[in-house]
Structure formats: structure tokens, C-alpha cells
Symmetry: C3
């Protein structure tokens, strides 16, 4: 299997065996953090990071990953780029991508929230870069998907539940709060967990549907495994028997109005649902469930301190795994493995 | 020949043999990109990059260059520096330059467009840094010159026209558009191409004269080779017989008014000349000319897509060469070549 | 002595023997800059730098330090982080610090001036990070202290006055000017110089008292050595017999009003004292004193050009020493010394 040069925009577009190659290398690299045989596979090579939106953790983990592989991640804010649009002069993505392919071994892009004017625009941009670039395009979280988060979730779940996740019961639960989060992490998690055979309950208040295409894909993933997929609008019922609880806020499908993210409206709407919080009382209904979240956690809204800092919370392990899966991904898609 | 410690503000200030040393090393480094014997000549060393103006490509290529030589380029935005001016308290360039000389092996500076209040101010600033710094000052594009772009142009032309450029015919043509570009790339190209013996036709509308001192120097360069230098105000006549066409927008000599770059006025004025575009019909008049441009290209204004993406366009090769000439330049002026 | 994992928020909290370990390694690393046996002790490791306030020199010296030890310093602007506060949703310092401890080997933080609403807030923030992080927290200058500057001062003074500073006479003199500087560098210098047995005269106009707790600690340091500590409100009297003059502006204790740094008020107040400048006439009264300053120097206000650029000025040496003490500090608190 040769993953060299392959884009990663959504895990759903990779074969399970390809995902397994990344996951098993990530686990290896976690055990042998500074001694793994691929540890110089990016020596003197450059990975570009395009942050349309700022991010602390994604930037930290990608830049660490390149450093730990002997290379260097350049932190670029494309706000400084004059890209051609329908109404303004500037550079085409074709030109930008062709030149970057001459300099670097890969390009990560993050674009979501207020840097797009409608859901899907970020995904379109990544695919336009992927069309022209000769180097891999890696999503560092965009409006639709967050593949590296999904891979980190799986590594974390396997560390705590064992290698075979088939039939394990996941509750993906909407949480209230004032952060108006994108759909990328939760959609990615639903896709990859269903891909690995988990039973899934998705719980959210009325008016918080996710992307219908993603929901359809999750349904097909579950069907192919014969596993369960249900969507409920109850803040409590899903906990019973759950082995993993993923509690996270997300915006409504009406969040973008006239090309602008309506943050005040979304906050006001989300705060109407204070019962949508993951707390110890509800966790007591589960099958000793793990608590998982892509961070940053909005404590007091999405989850109580007691749960987030409790013995079944694996949030720091999953955050750490971002580093390892990204190292594995970069090694396999961009690294000089023949040199090791 | 020892180039260690030498500033590069304009290629005209270097001997041709010195430029040839950079050019030939750049060609070598391109062939042996990750295996060249100088590939660790900046190991654990720092190159400072001062970006008064943002730039994607210049930053990418310089930071990659340092990484590929084993070192690290620090991206610094001197907007955060409080420099002393006639009216405000702050640090002198003497103090800033003396301390930076203790930390780094070289300092690149980019300053042009809206970060200066009159043509020539950027050049003055670089020379003030060069006066005090004990490390090489490298222009990363300033109002007057862009030496690394000029060197990359020559590498690209030689790759496609052969090593000896003497007598080859260059058309430097103004293009219309809304980007109000500085003179640095075109002035640098005229200087270095005339230095290497090319025949030059400079074509622009009335009111778009370049720096008279630069034009005089180009004239002298041509005279010393017995080559031709003509300036015309015709958007078509210069194409006949050309072997290289460089089509690029630039601002007028009236662009700075009362210390401010008058962008709206310049855009309005430039857009009055829509016939000043490099298109396939005009390129058909040439001697199968190469199309060259320092990028980013303003497609649809400076040049049509058909030409920019056509078989004779070498824009991506030239952009790639920025990396290689900058590596060669850094190796020769800042590197520890004795260690290799 | 094992310094691995130790925070450095103020030198006063370290034993003298621990400070000596850093100082002697710094001197060694200065002599053997690219050949020292610890030169790869951060290989492929990451140091995070959190700049709440911008800084050119601190950023340059820390990033160079990590590079020269084989590692990489990530420049992070936590303005992009949504931290939880009393009134806004966001991430807790607990969560941020726990995750960063999984990625990096150390975290430097700079917070002072307009990024705090009252003196002491920056110090509280560093201690909150130190509470949760499993990696060393290093002050890169905060409202109260600037330990790396203090260490660099001592290396510089020893280079020029000899290893034993006991009984050497330091004049710390307030300077007028428009820069409204924090107390961190001067407080740190008073603490560390008194720790090493120097006699100290602190001179400032009425209304420019420093932190009473720091002054008390300086008094105790002096008492334990039997050395002298006096505070005077005279712009000239302290020069007589001084062997070191540290001339620097600082803000008044009334600088923060209603949670905001009152810059215009402070500038107006400071400029009322033009006689508070270190000049050649006053320096002639000293015992051929060295001039020392943490830079950037406000020439013409704090000190005249004649003194700052004169033969007894050691400002560039001290600035250079920032690099070496930070390398030594990082090696001892974060480095893999067992691997060398």
C-alpha cells in the first residue's frame, strides 16, 4: 500500500486498510516517540500550514509533528495572500498551488466558522487546492470534516476499549454553550466510528440537524456492519448503556445568514437548552462510559467539571493523539521512507 | 572569491563573477536538492526575516531555503518594534542591528508599497541596517530592487535559452491591472538581463517611466556589451522578434502623494490601458518567446490565461528558482562552508 | 543538582547554587557556541512561546536558543486562544496546560503592560500555568520579573568586573521618557544583584516606588551579605563611586487606572523630569562605571548617545548574553542531557 502523495480531506474517502496503516503507525510512533525509525523522514523538508482561522492546538500539534520528524512546518496566514475572486484581482489557486508544490512536501489548510460565507465553501477550497497541487492537501479542520481529529479519536478509544471497536456503543450528544462550533469534528467522529463498526446514537435538540449527506453516509457505514444508528431528540435517553459519550456543541443549519455567521443569534438559540449538558448524573446511566471531546472543552456548558476532569475522561489522551496520528500521516503521505 | 558577509541589496553592486558564483551554485543545488555537500551549512543557525510588508511566496521560499540548509528562518514582523523616528521614542537601527548581529547569521528585509511614504525610503532603510549590522543584509524585495528575483529570472532563462544570454532579445512590457505594483522586480530584471548582455526593449504607456538612475544603468550595461536598449510607448510593436516577454504591471512615478500610496488613483489610471495585456495574438509575433513573470500573476490583466498557462510560460520554473538561488546566496554569504 | 522540570518565574525562588549552574553553563555555551556537548539536547523537541505582548528581542533570543540546541521554538500569540474568564466561555488554563505538556518540553510566557489590568495579574497567570503544566514554565518577562534578563545582566557584569561581584557598587537609576516601561527588568536586576552581594543605590523621583515586597526582598538579600542598600530621590547623588550604572525608565505605581494602563498620563508625568538622564557629566562622577541596560534603549531620554555608545557601555554584550543564558536554562530544565 502506497499512501505517498495522497490527500486527506475526509477519512470516508480513504479505505479502512489505509486508515489502519495510519493508526497502527501512530500507535508505534507514540511508543517510540523520539526513537522511531521514521523520525527523520521529513529531514530538511517543509510542510506549509494555511490557517485561514486561528487555532492554538491544531497549530501546536502540526508544528510539533513536523519538528519531531526532522522537518519544519511553516505557519502561514493566507489573509496576506491576494487571491483572485469573482470581483477582485489576485492570484489563482492554480498558480498558488503549483508554486507551493515546488517548495514543500505537503500543505495543511484550516478554514471554517467566520472565514466562510456558507457551509461547504471551505470544503470546496480544499478540493480546488487538491486539484492543482502535486503535494498532499491535508485538512487541519474545515467546515465539513476534521479527519485528523477523527483518527485521534479512534486511537484514544482503542487505547481504552481495546483494538476492536465493533459493537461498542457511542452516544454523540449536542451540548449547549456560547461557542457556535462547526460541524467538522462531530461529523468526522460519526463517520469514522461508524466505519469501525460502532453502534451510534446521535442526540440533539430539534433544529440541530447535521449535514444530510454525512448522516446518510453514517447510516450506510452502520448498515454495512449491521450496527445500530439512531437519532433522538432527548437530552437524557441516549445515555443508557453507552460506552462512549461525546458531548459537544455545534451550530444550527441556519447559522449562516446572507453570507455571514450569525454568532449572536446562534448563541441565543443554543443557550435556550441548558439541560443539554453532560453531567455525572447522566453518566451514571451509562455502561461506565468514557467521556471524549476534541477540545477546547466548554466546561459548565457542554460538560461539568466533574465529568471532564473525572476518571473516565480521555480528553487529554485524545488531544495528545493528534500529534501521533499527524506524524504518522505526514510520514506516510510526505515522508522519505526509503531513506530510513 | 569570498562572498562571506556580503550584503545583497542590488545585483548591480556585485561583480558579474560574484553573481555567477551564486548562479552556478544555485543550479547545482537544484540538481542535488537534498544531497548537496553544503546542505548543512546553516546547521542550527538563524536567519532573520523582517517583513514590513506581508508576502506569501518570498516568505515561503526564504524559510524553505533556511530549512533545506539545516538552519531556521525566523519570521519577524517589525510592526512590533518601536523604532526611533524624528517624532517618536523608540530604538535606533544601530541598536537593533548590533544586537541582531549577535544572534543571527543574516537578515532579510522586505519593505515597499504602503509601508513607505516615498520611493527610495525602503532602500535607505536597508542601507542603514547594512551600515550597522555585522551580518549580511539581503533584500527580500524593496521599493527599488529585488535581487533574488533577478537571479531566479536568469537561472530560468538559462534553463530554457542556454547558458549564454548575450544577444537574446527581451521585451519588458507594462501590463494594466488593479494591483499597483512596485518597481523592484522589473528594475532588477532590466539591470541583471542587461548585465548578461541581452538586447532590451522596454515598453510602457506614457506616464509609466521607471527610476531614471536605473534606466541610465541599464543603458550603460547595454553599451558595455554593445547590445540594444530601446524604450517605446507602444503596446504591440515590441513583440516582433522577442525571445523573452516579461509582462508585468507597475505603478506610475506619481503613485506616492503627500507620503501616501494613492492606490485608488493608480488603479483608475492603470485600467485606462486595457490594450496593455500580453495575449496569444501578440505572442504570435515573437520569435517563439518565453513568457516570464515574477508572480503572483494578475491573469486577465497583465496576461491572458492562454499565455500564462501555455507551453512557453516558465513562471513556475522561475518561482521555483527563487528557492535555489536563495539557498546558494545564503550558503555563500552566511554558511559555514569550511565545515562541509 | 537536578534542574530538569523546574519553573523559572523569578530568580529569587531559585537557590544561588542553582543560578550558578545556569550561569556557568551559559559562559561555557558562549565560548563553544556551536560545538558544546549539549548542542543537540533539544533535538526534534518543541518549546512553546506565548507572547501576550509582542517583543522583538525576547522572541529572537528564545527562538535562536531553541534552534541552536537542535530544537524548535513555536511562536504563539495566545490572542487566538479563547480562554475561559469570569464572564466569557472558553478553555481553562488547566486544559490548555495539560495538553501543551503532552506536546512540548517547555513553555515560555510574556505578559505585561497593556495586556494586564493591574500589576500582579501577569504573575498570577504564570503561576496558574505552572500549577497545571507538567513542563517548565519560563518567564519571558512579565509584570513582576524578568529572570532571563537578570541572569544575562550577571553574565555581562562578571565578564567586565570579574567573577566575584560582592561589594561592587550598582546605581539603579530611573530615567525619564515616553515608553512607560514595566518594572520587571529593574526589579529582577535589583533582586539578582543583591543576591550576588552587590551594594545597591536605587534612585528615582518621588512617586516612582517599586513593588514594596521586592524592595523588602532586596533589603534582606543585602542584609544577608552585609552589603549596602539605599534608596534616594536625587538624580545625581548616587553616581559618586558607582561601578555599574543601570539607567532605565519605569512606570509609576499609579499606572493602572480602572483596569487600564494610563499611557498618556504616565508619559506626561515622566516627561516632567528631564534631569533624570544618564549623561557623560554624571558618569564622570563614578568609579569608571559600566553602563548597563536591558534594551531597547530610549536614547536621549534614559541615556545620552555618548554614554550608550561609549566605551563603558556593555548593552550589546548583555543583550547577547540573553541567548546564552536561555540556552543554558533550556538545556538544564528541558534538555535530554543523558543523551549527549
Amino acid at each position: 500500500m502506497d499512501l505517498h502523495g495522497k490527500d486527506l480531506i475526509c477519512t470516508q474517502e480513504w479505505a479502512v486498510e489505509e486508515l489502519e496503516a495510519v493508526l497502527s503507525l501512530a500507535a508505534e510512533m507514540k511508543r517510540e516517540r523520539f526513537t522511531h525509525r521514521y523520525n527523520n523522514c521529513l529531514a530538511q523538508k517543509t510542510f506549509f500550514m494555511f490557517f485561514y482561522n486561528p487555532s492554538v492546538r491544531t497549530r501546536q500539534s502540526f508544528e510539533c509533528a513536523a519538528t519531531e520528524l526532522g522537518g519544519h512546518a511553516q505557519f502561514l496566514e493566507p489573509g496576506a495572500m491576494r487571491l483572485k475572486t469573482a470581483t477582485t484581482a489576485g492570484e489563482t489557486i492554480e498558480d498558488a498551488a503549483e508554486v507551493m508544490s515546488r517548495y514543500a512536501v505537503g500543505l495543511g489548510i484550516r478554514i471554517l466558522e467566520d472565514k466562510i460565507s456558507a457551509y461547504g465553501e471551505g470544503d470546496d477550497l480544499l478540493r480546488e487546492y487538491a486539484r492543482w497541487a502535486e503535494i498532499p492537501i491535508i485538512s487541519m479542520a474545515h467546515d465539513k470534516y476534521h479527519p485528523c481529529q477523527g483518527l485521534a479519536d479512534i486511537v484514544g478509544l482503542r487505547e481504552h476499549l481495546g483494538q476492536d471497536l465493533k459493537g461498542k456503543r457511542l452516544l454523540m450528544m449536542w451540548g449547549h454553550g456560547a461557542l457556535v462550533r462547526s460541524w467538522c469534528s462531530v461529523q468526522e467522529n460519526l463517520l469514522i466510528c461508524s466505519r469501525f463498526g460502532m453502534d451510534i446514537t446521535l442526540a440533539h435538540p430539534e433544529g440541530y440537524d447535521l449535514d444530510p449527506e454525512v448522516i446518510a453516509a453514517v447510516g450506510e457505514n452502520c448498515a454495512s456492519h449491521g450496527s445500530r444508528f439512531e437519532i433522538i431528540q432527548d437530552s437524557k435517553a441516549g445515555y443508557e448503556g453507552a460506552e462512549v459519550v461525546y458531548g459537544r456543541n455545534w451550530m444550527s443549519p441556519q447559522a449562516y445568514k446572507d453570507g455571514v455567521l450569525d454568532k449572536p443569534g446562534e448563541i441565543e438559540k443554543a443557550l435556550r437548552h441548558p439541560q443539554w449538558i453532560c453531567d455525572a448524573e447522566k453518566m451514571a446511566l451509562t455502561n461506565d462510559a468514557l467521556y471524549i471531546h476534541p477540545m477546547p472543552v466548554d466546561r459548565g456548558h457542554e460538560v461539568t467539571d466533574e465529568v471532564a476532569s473525572g476518571p473516565r475522561s480521555i480528553i487529554y489522551d485524545v488531544a495528545e493523539n493528534r500529534l501521533h496520528v499527524q506524524k504518522a500521516l505526514m510520514a506516510l503521505t510526505m515522508g522519505s521512507l526509503e531513506d530510513v
